[in-house]
Symmetry: C2
Subunit: 345 residues, 2 copies
């Protein structure tokens, strides 16, 4: 059990989830000496869970390669993911080291046929509702074919988690015109436009389109996606600080803040990162969801909620089926023709 | 005279600048038929400016290559930049097509010796004050040596525009640990750490560090920088919309909004993108500043203010001198040794 707070957050988080979804059952992988006393305070969860003891942990600062070597077989992270492989668990949720979790998940569960690299997808609150944004940091760089894979996986996730029949998909770029942007992004655009995939491809979108909710699925590679996500988080914190500062300056504004307390509460609620917590690992033979390392019980429960939705909608099978369609379509020669008839700038 | 509104914004913007800085003189390059009537309303500006007539314009959607071909010699954009080359003007300010402006500026003014590619730098409001962020969209991709050039140029800009003696410099990455991130970013980090450049290199920063103001200069390549900038703009707009929505929900919150009107005014002022408007082209033999295409007179005047500060502090000479030092230092063999002694992951 990882993250910044270990069982102190995970156990109350799981307890919250059991209240919401009494049908849930948990394997709690970690130090029995720390977990068991916490379970005494949450009897509902205790009745629905089993402790799998280990005292080997992957630290938050371990390199992925180091974690794979040292945590193999016996670490809590390994054992949780391996339970998904053997079918003992339906999904793994972890607040631990992201790089290590991805490396282990990939090693143990393997990628789906037709998927060259997994991605981490985030649910991003927008002015319209929520969008799926991927990859937010699984790997750095992606070629056109990998971006197309991300598009297919992200679209399936939007259908499952946002309840949309035909989610729209956009490629993140530095301009919306066809001629602009990174070569691999333009190439991915040509493939998606010409592919006859059963997907609403909406073209390029820019950074400010994410928050607007211009499309339901925003596709980019992991470096840019991670920086966009963290920049948005930083900007949100920055504006909250400004707001607090401005409201505390005069007696009048303090009075205003008291009257508008309900509004600020609603604003805080909308912006609450705990309500969108959960990075979904896509492209693997199994479900792994990453909770933010610094979240609290409420945030952890959100990650479990997301995991449950993924299982209920059988996201992995949907992705498998979609990737098969994609692989078949992209083999057809007319797609290559479409590509070559485009201007090359 | 470009941008979304042409002279209707540029002329009132320049008029505002003349009020602030009566020593300014303007060459107004564009359609005399549109400019002259507007000048009648701004006599102070009229006395301090000269119209350079042309009715050829680079459109906002022209490709850079097309603009270079069709706008050569006779377009307002070309003539404004060429006035910088000949010394008739000290700097060019434009709200026109960014890609075309950069292509022309590079073609006419050439890059400084030792600089392989120019960058566009933005002033980014932070919780501490302001930071310089570059490249926000001049070109896509940058290798380690180019990132080091951006660091040197950005540092010089922070000294000139933020009045700092020893600005701190960070490389934008997906993690702060030495072992994480894109290869070219790690390599740039090794060079900056080992280079003995007279610069406060602070290591890697992440997306949320930009708004915090963790460092004074944030260095990244143009694709990521552009997406970070626009994502932050989008998030700021999103939160303003939420705030308005929340404040208008109940009578109490509306009342609160009235009392706190001064605070919201202060918040609006802090977040006002017009107060940070101006993308500075760095690495050229001359000063070119890009105003946001959709800004108003106040925003345009900010771009002129920034331009004036650049000229007063002779940023181009400072960059020239710093690049010379950098080029000299990076030729020393010990830097290559430093680089090779680092772990390669």
């Amino acid at each position: 059990m990882g993250g910044d707070h270990g069982p102190d957050v995970v156990i109350p988080g799981a307890a919250l989830s059991v209240q919401r979804h009494p049908e849930l059952r948990f394997l709690l992988v970690g130090d029995r000496g720390r977990i068991a006393p916490l379970l005494e305070r949450h009897t509902k969860l205790k009745d629905r869970s089993e402790i799998v003891h280990t005292d080997v942990f992957v630290t938050m600062d371990a390199k992925p390669s180091q974690a794979l070597r040292q945590g193999r077989g016996k670490s809590s992270m390994w054992m949780a993911i391996d339970a998904v492989r053997t079918g003992r668990a339906d999904a793994a949720v972890s607040a631990g080291n992201t790089g290590a979790l991805m490396a282990m998940a990939r090693f143990i569960l393997k990628t789906l046929p037709g998927i060259s690299r997994p991605a981490i997808a985030a649910l991003w609150p927008t002015l319209r509702s929520e969008s799926v944004v991927l990859d937010v940091g699984a790997t750095i760089g992606a070629d056109a074919a990998q971006l197309v894979e991300f598009a297919v996986m992200g679209e399936a996730m939007a259908r499952c988690l946002l309840g949309l029949e035909k989610p729209t998909v956009g490629l993140l770029n530095v301009g919306v015109e066809e001629i602009k942007g990174a070569e691999q992004v333009k190439e991915a655009g040509r493939i998606l436009r010409g592919s006859k995939l059963p997907m609403e491809y909406a073209g390029f979108v820019e950074g400010d389109d994410i928050g607007k909710g211009t499309v339901d699925v925003v596709v980019t590679e992991g470096f840019t996606g991670n920086i966009a996500l963290k920049t948005a988080e930083g900007t949100a914190k920055q504006l909250s600080s400004y707001l607090r500062l401005c409201l505390s300056r005069t007696l009048m504004s303090k009075l205003g803040a008291v009257f508008a307390a309900g509004a600020f509460e609603a604003l805080r609620d909308r912006m609450d990162p705990r309500k969108h917590n959960g990075g979904v690992f896509l492209g693997l033979n199994g479900v792994v969801v990453k909770s933010h390392g610094g979240t609290d019980a409420l945030g952890y429960a959100t990650a479990i909620d997301i995991t449950l939705e993924i299982l209920r909608n059988d996201l992995v099978s949907k992705i498998k089926a979609d990737v098969e369609i994609m692989t078949g379509l992209l083999k057809q020669p007319d797609i290559m023709q479409d590509k070559q008839s485009e201007p090359s700038l």
